[in-house]
Each structure stands twice: as C-alpha cells, then as structure tokens.
C-alpha cells in the first residue's frame, strides 16, 4: 500500500550530530563546534542533556540572518573559533557542518585550514547533518576527517577503527598480542591528536557497521587495506573478527575454543532468549550484526529493518544472515504492518517509536542503548545478550500489572488525543 522511497512517511531516525554524545566522552581534549541553527543546538541540548552542565565541550555557532544572506563564512567563524580556543583550550576542534550550511553551500569544511592556521589548534571538518545519514554515521564522518590527518606508517601496522570503551580496546589489544600480529593502534583514542599511522602498509579493521565512508576514504586516499569483516558483536562475530585480523596478516589463528567459552559465559542470558523471536526496526545500522548473533544464539529473527545495506561493507554480515528478511529503509507503517503480522516476542526500536509500539502491545527493547554500551568482543557478549534478555524478563514481570496507556493518577487525560476525531479510511 505504501511505497518505501527515501521520503516516505515516518522515517524514524535522529540527526547525525548524535555521536558527539559519545565522541566527546572518548576524546577528552576535543571541542565540537557545530555550525547550524537553533534546531541543531536544541537537538544537542535535548539529546545530550545534562552533559552540557559539567564542562561543556560542544557548542553551536548559530547562523543569523547575515550568514543566510551571504556573509563570508570564514570571517564569521574566525572570532568564534578563537573564543572557543581562549575559553576551553581544546587540543583539537571538530568543526561540524549541518544541513543549513550545506543548503547554502557555505563550505564550512573548506574553512578548516585557515581556522587552524589562525588559531594554532587542529581543526577536523566533518559533515554532521540530518539529511540521509543514519545517526551513527556522524562518527563515520568525524573519523574520516581524522584519517586524513594520520601520519604515514613506516612499517606494517594494524589500526582498529571505531569508538570503543577501554574495556573493549583492552580485549582487542590482548587478542592481537596473542596472535602475533602488530599491536593495534586505535582511532579514535583518548586524545584527538593521537592518530595511528595510516597508509598502504596499514591493515584497517572497522569495529562498527556504520563506518563504511571512513573505510572507503582510508582505502581510496591513504591506500590502507580494509579486509571484509564480520563485526565483533557476539561470540560468533568476535571469533570471525579476530580470525579475520590474523588472516589479514597471513597468520592462522583459531578462536574456536574462545567462542565456545564465550557462549558458555552467556548461558544465563541465552536461556531467556533461546526459541524466542526478536524483530528489528530500522535504526542505527547495528541491526545486521545484532540480528546475526541473536540468530546464532538460537533466537528466531522474523525480519530485520535497517536504514541501508552497504553491498560491499556489509557483505559478510549479509551472507551470515541469509534466510532472514531484510527491509531496507522501510517507512514506519510498513514496519508496523510487518510487526503485526509476525507478532514477535520482542521488538528492538528507537526512542521515536518505542512508546508507540508499547502502546500497541509489543514488548520493546529501546535500541539507542545498544549504540553506547560496551557490548563488543567476547567479554562484552554477556552484556549484549543481557540487554535483550532483561527486556524480555522485565516484560514478563510487568505482565502481572496492568500497564494500560495513560495514567489513572493524572486528572487530565490525553484521551482526546488517542481516538481520531473522524475515522480514518
């Protein structure tokens, strides 16, 4: 009934400014300056909430009517960058261009070299807009800008690409040391200035399924080798991930025993999940690897909706998911129709639709959490499955109470709002 072209109804997603939320925690010496409207500023404030209060390391250069009518972008940005440098003393500035500068063709990124020269602080230009990119891809664009500044390697090296927690990094480092491959450099790391060398001698391994552009950039512009990967989500994915790294350096390594042990460590969570069904709404591009590992764990996955499948970058994940229906960029109502017909035990959905789906009677796991929890690697596997298992357990526990939409305690109800005033056709 409804087609699913890019501008169909209800594409539920956030702005790609969102990764500032985790990137500014990871890179403690970076400042994120966003050139945009009050709406960008409102999103940062709403989405990143209280983070602003401690020590703000992000801000918006609000476009005013002079900017809209063609004031020189560099002239406008210079004093703003200078005041950020004076007040916050960052080691580097990530300069985000948003929708409006793109519409106005302001070339914010092109100002970076001059801003850097004037301020003495490194400036990484990145597109952080809310047009088509999935919200996680803001990280992709920031990392691409950092790759552009990485030094050339002098010997074969390994770079692990993607924002990780210290725990996840430690596991990968120890695993690489065990395999006899080079100790990996991580991008990003704690300093926005600490860049691992990247060049033709580099094997670049992405850890997240939303880093296609940065990988393509590293391969194209820096000559790095980016082997096809399975992402380190779940014991099965982590094993393939490590074995893929070994193979890239011409070594044979087996993580079969580690995989078995990791599955065993997830036993309690898996007991709650095995034989149940979990469907994915389109969200952060994490859907393919998550669905793949859930299926490997004995979960029935009726379908996976995702914003986009990258034929090459997601090739191995797609292979491993063969047999599962993948909906690419479906609209909200198409997804709802699928959910109604397959009635899964658990629906994975973002904050846009989570409450709505609960209101429709589905058990929901809100997905945004999955993009900032340390759930990768063998050690992260129990946490990964735990997020799904606890959602299921919680819904079973709550089934004993009556959780009807709305609140009896509130004297003014929103009932007017729940029933259409004239019936829909």
């Amino acid at each position: 009934m409804f087609d699913s072209t890019a501008d169909a109804l209800g594409r539920d997603d956030f702005c790609s400014l969102a990764p500032i939320g985790w990137l500014h925690h990871k890179m403690q010496d970076a400042f994120f300056l966003v050139v945009g409207t009050r709406s960008c500023q409102g999103f940062l404030q709403t989405a990143l909430g209280v983070m602003i209060f401690a020590q703000p390391r992000f801000a918006t250069a609000l476009l005013d009517e002079d900017d809209l009518s063609g004031r020189d972008t560099l002239t406008a940005l210079l004093p703003i960058v200078q005041s950020v440098v004076d007040e916050h003393r960052p080691a580097a500035i990530v300069l985000g261009s948003t929708c409006t500068p793109e519409i106005l063709k302001m070339n914010v990124g092109g100002c970076a070299p001059a801003l850097e020269a004037a301020s003495g602080v490194r400036v990484y230009p990145a597109r952080l807009d809310g047009f088509d990119a999935s919200y996680t891809q803001g990280e992709d664009h920031v990392l691409a800008a950092m790759i552009a500044r990485a030094p050339e390697p002098t010997e074969p090296n390994l770079v692990v690409l993607g924002c990780l927690s210290a725990l996840e990094e430690a596991e990968i480092r120890l695993a690489c040391e065990g395999m006899g491959v080079p100790t990996p450099g991580f991008l990003p790391s704690e300093s926005a200035l600490a860049l691992p060398p990247i060049g033709p001698q580099t094997v670049l391994i992405p850890v997240h399924p939303y880093l296609a552009d940065a990988c393509a950039y590293a391969a194209r512009e820096r000559g790095a080798r980016v082997p096809p990967v399975v992402f380190p989500y779940g014991p099965d994915g982590t094993r393939a991930f490590y074995e893929g790294i070994a193979a890239a350096f011409g070594r044979a390594a087996s993580f079969a025993d580690r995989e078995t042990a990791a599955w065993a460590a997830c036993d309690r969570e898996l007991a709650a999940l095995r034989g149940r069904s979990v469907a994915f709404c389109s969200d952060a591009l994490l859907e393919l690897p998550l669905a793949r590992t859930l299926r490997a764990a004995g979960v029935n996955v009726p379908f996976v909706a995702t914003p986009r499948v990258y034929r090459k970058f997601h090739a191995r994940e797609s292979e491993l998911l063969a047999g599962v229906d993948v909906l690419e960029a479906p609209d909200r109502y198409e997804t709802f129709a699928r959910l109604t017909s397959c009635d899964p035990d658990l629906v994975v959905a973002n904050l846009n639709v989570a409450n709505e789906l609960e209101g429709m009677g589905f058990a929901v796991k809100w997905s945004t959490e999955l993009s900032f929890q340390p759930i990768r690697g063998f050690a992260g596997a129990p946490a990964l499955f735990g997020l799904f298992a606890s959602a299921l357990r919680r819904h079973q526990a709550l089934a004993r109470t009556t959780g009807a939409v709305g609140s009896a305690a509130n004297p003014i109800t929103l009932d007017f709002f729940r029933t259409p005033v004239r019936s829909a056709v």
């Binding site: 409207t37 009050r38 519409i103 460590a265 050690a379 004297p411």
Partner: protein, 503 residues
Amino acid sequence: MKLALWSYEAPAHVGVTRAASSFAGVHTVLRAPKGDGYATIMFAMFERLGVTPPLTISALSEATLAGAPADIGRTLADVDQRLGPEMIVVTRSATAAVLQEPLDGEIRMLAPGAIRAQIVEPDTHPVRDTETSAFAKTVCEIVDRVALDGVPRTREPSVNIIGPSLLGFHDRSNVASLQRMLADVGVTVNAVIPLGASTAQLRNAGAAWANVTTALELARPTFERLHERFETPYVEDVPFGEAGTYRFLDALGGLLEIPRARIRAAGRGAQLAWYARTVDAHALSGKRVAVFATPSTAAGLARVLGEELDMRVELVGTYVLDHDAWLRGRCERLDTEVLVTDDYREVARAIDRLRPDIVFGTQMERHSASRFGLPCAVVAPPAHILNFPLGYEPFIGFDGANHLGDLVNRTQVLGLEHHLIETFGPRNQGRFAEAAPDGTDEPVATAADGAPRWDDGAEKLVGRIPFFVRKKARTNIERYARDRAIAVIDEATVLAAREHVGG
C-alpha cells in the same frame, strides 16, 4: 554567527508544533530534514504517548538539494488518510525555510477534495520567532480561523483557559487545579485551548464570558483577538499563591459577578497563608531569593515569595525578551533587581553575585545553583522529563499554592535544624570528612585480608569503569580472582571476570 551553548527556548517550529498538535484533531506536518524531527521524540518520551505523535516530518533529503520537489502533497495525503485529522498545520524548520521551496504552491495545486482536512500554514517566522512567540501566534491563528461569529454567551458563567499544551510545564496539573477551583465558584470551562480543544469547542470560543490563562506570554494574542471579535474580557494575571488566587478570583468575580462568599468557600483547602504563620515558616522571613522563569511565573512567584511568605526577593528575571517592560511593571512594588536575558551564563553570574538562600528557576538554574552550593526549586520551563509527573503537582490555583508551600519547605533548611547548623556547623564534617566523598572509589579490601593485588594495568582499566558501578565491579573481579587463586589481577583478569559475571 553567534556562539550558543544552551538555550531556554526551542526553535520556532517546536512552538508551532506544540501549539497546533495540542488541539484535538489537529496534526502538524513539519517540512524539515529528518534530523529536525527530534520533536517527535519529545512528544513520545515526555508525554509518554502510547500512540503516533501528532507530528509527521516531510523529510528534506539530499535528493531535495539536488532539485527533487518537496512533494508535500503526498505527505499530506498520507497523514489525511491514515490519521484522519480535521486540520493539518504545515510549518517548516529554519533549515527548510532557507531552501524557499514553494510549498504553498504545491498545496494550492492539490486536487480539490484530495485532502479532507483543512490545511493551515501559521504566519510565523522560522528564525525571528521564538518558541514562545510562535506558540502564541499559532494558537491565536487557529482559534481565529475556527471560531464562529454570532455565538451567544453560555447560559452560566464560563471561561476559556488559554495556554496549556502538550509538552507544557506541569500543564495538566495546572488545568486540573484551575478547573476544580472554577467549579467551586460556579464557573464552567468553555474550552481549554489548545490542550484538547476540539473544533466544536473552538467554534464556540466566543461563548465564554471571560478568558483566563496559565501563562500570559502564550495567551496574549488570543486574548486580544477574542476581545476584538467578541469583546471577551480577560484576566492577565495567573493565580499564583493563596492571596494571588483570591485576587485572581476577585478579578474574575468582577467580570462574572461571582458572589464573594463563594470565592471564600473555594479557598477553604488553601494552607499557604496559615503555613506562613506557623513556627516552621518563621525562618523564611528575610530569606533572600532569586526567581528566573517565564514572565507570568516570575512575576507571580516573586509576589508570592515576597508578599505571602515575607522573603526578600533579590532578583526577578525572564528569558522571554519581549516581556521585559511587562515584567518590570509587575515587579515595581517588590523593589527588586530585574534581569531579562536569554543567556544562562548571565543568570548564573547574577546568582553567583547575589548568593541567595534559595533559587527558583529552570533546570538550568538548578545546575547553576548547585555549582554554587545553593538550593534550587525548578518552577519553569524548558520542561524536563521530571516536569511530567505521573501524579498531581500544580503550581497555580489554591492547590498550586499548597504545592508551592511544600516546594519551599522541601528546598530550604528549616527551623530547629537551621539553629543546630548555625551553632554546630554543617553536617558531613569532622572525622568523616576524610572519607571518599561517596565511598564509590575505595578498594573494597586491602592486601592484609589476603585479597588479590591489582597491577597497574588492571587498576587503570578498572578506573575507566563508570564510577557508579566501579565498586561493584571491583568486588566482582576480586571475588572472581580469589575463587581462582589468582594473586595478581591484570587486565586479562578484569576482562575474564567481566565475561564471567557479565555487565
């Protein structure tokens, strides 16, 4: 360009959406990049709506930049068929406005009858209007369009309550408080606008004997328009405090001829005036307070704190810039400093300079105040999830006055405790002062217990675990190590333990 870290007000399109979508049977279509669509999350999360939010994005994509038409007609048709609204309000974000797409043209080109809902494009400016002004204009425009001329006044005295909306600050509680109180004095509510007002109610907007509000800055254009069209009188002041509520009812009583005895009877449950006379409240006299809020709340609350609780109002302020003169006029009798700014840092500096005993402000002032170690009560938007209580927490009317008393009571240090602290100094000093602030970061056991030792790498790694779970993680890791007779915990142990226990 201007550097902005944090704003009190959302962009204009949020004001339009909040206003329009709060009417029953009205859906908003927002032309914007999907990234501007976070307003839908606010509806879903703050109002805990278990249904489709009353807002649909007509997404502006890369294809649009390459010249693809907006095709707003298709979005409108989808919304019309699927959700069946009576009115669709079309607006655009600042970003979409820059593109200057001919939306009006596309809408005019739609086949007659293709869309059954009435389509309205409010006359607001996506950059020059603020959330507040865009809200106020949109409410006025929708009411004005739907209200019919020649409607007779209701038989019994009645009012419209103008201002409450979805995503409003304690609005549902405030409406309930007003309704309860108005019922007590024999006044019926003709319509609550926009929150839940149906088209049928709006047609009869002119039937109310008077208009009242929960926030003047949101209601003023509608007040004026309805006065022009129907000569409906209005009460500008919002009923804050007990005396303030009596004054409000007296003003309304003058318009509707409400017997005074009825007004007195309606206030029987009010306890703020009596509370002010009780021993516990004696400590309030001369306490220095700062109030920074919306204009109505700032003026109303400052008066309550000063006149009804005998506190010393050092500062009154608002971030709604076009109400500067109005607020100054309202505060003349208080002899206080008035600050009108939309820069939270300026407010923080004023708080720092004045060091009041209690701050009444927004969530931002709560954070500023806590930086200076000052107590703060949150009394005004921008609304936070905490301002959507499940229960009844009004700020206005007699019930609201009681709640304000509780708020003051809970926010400041009272009576006996006050004297004890004056005499002996604050708590948390003395021999406990040496302990870690909240005990979260201490090693759980020492080497003397035969517990495993942590090597530097492991220590560093565990230091990276968020502080609120660190202690638990340490305990688990040490237990894991002890169970396996591991004498020295290294990074591998930390990871193995995490895998073993999960989390």
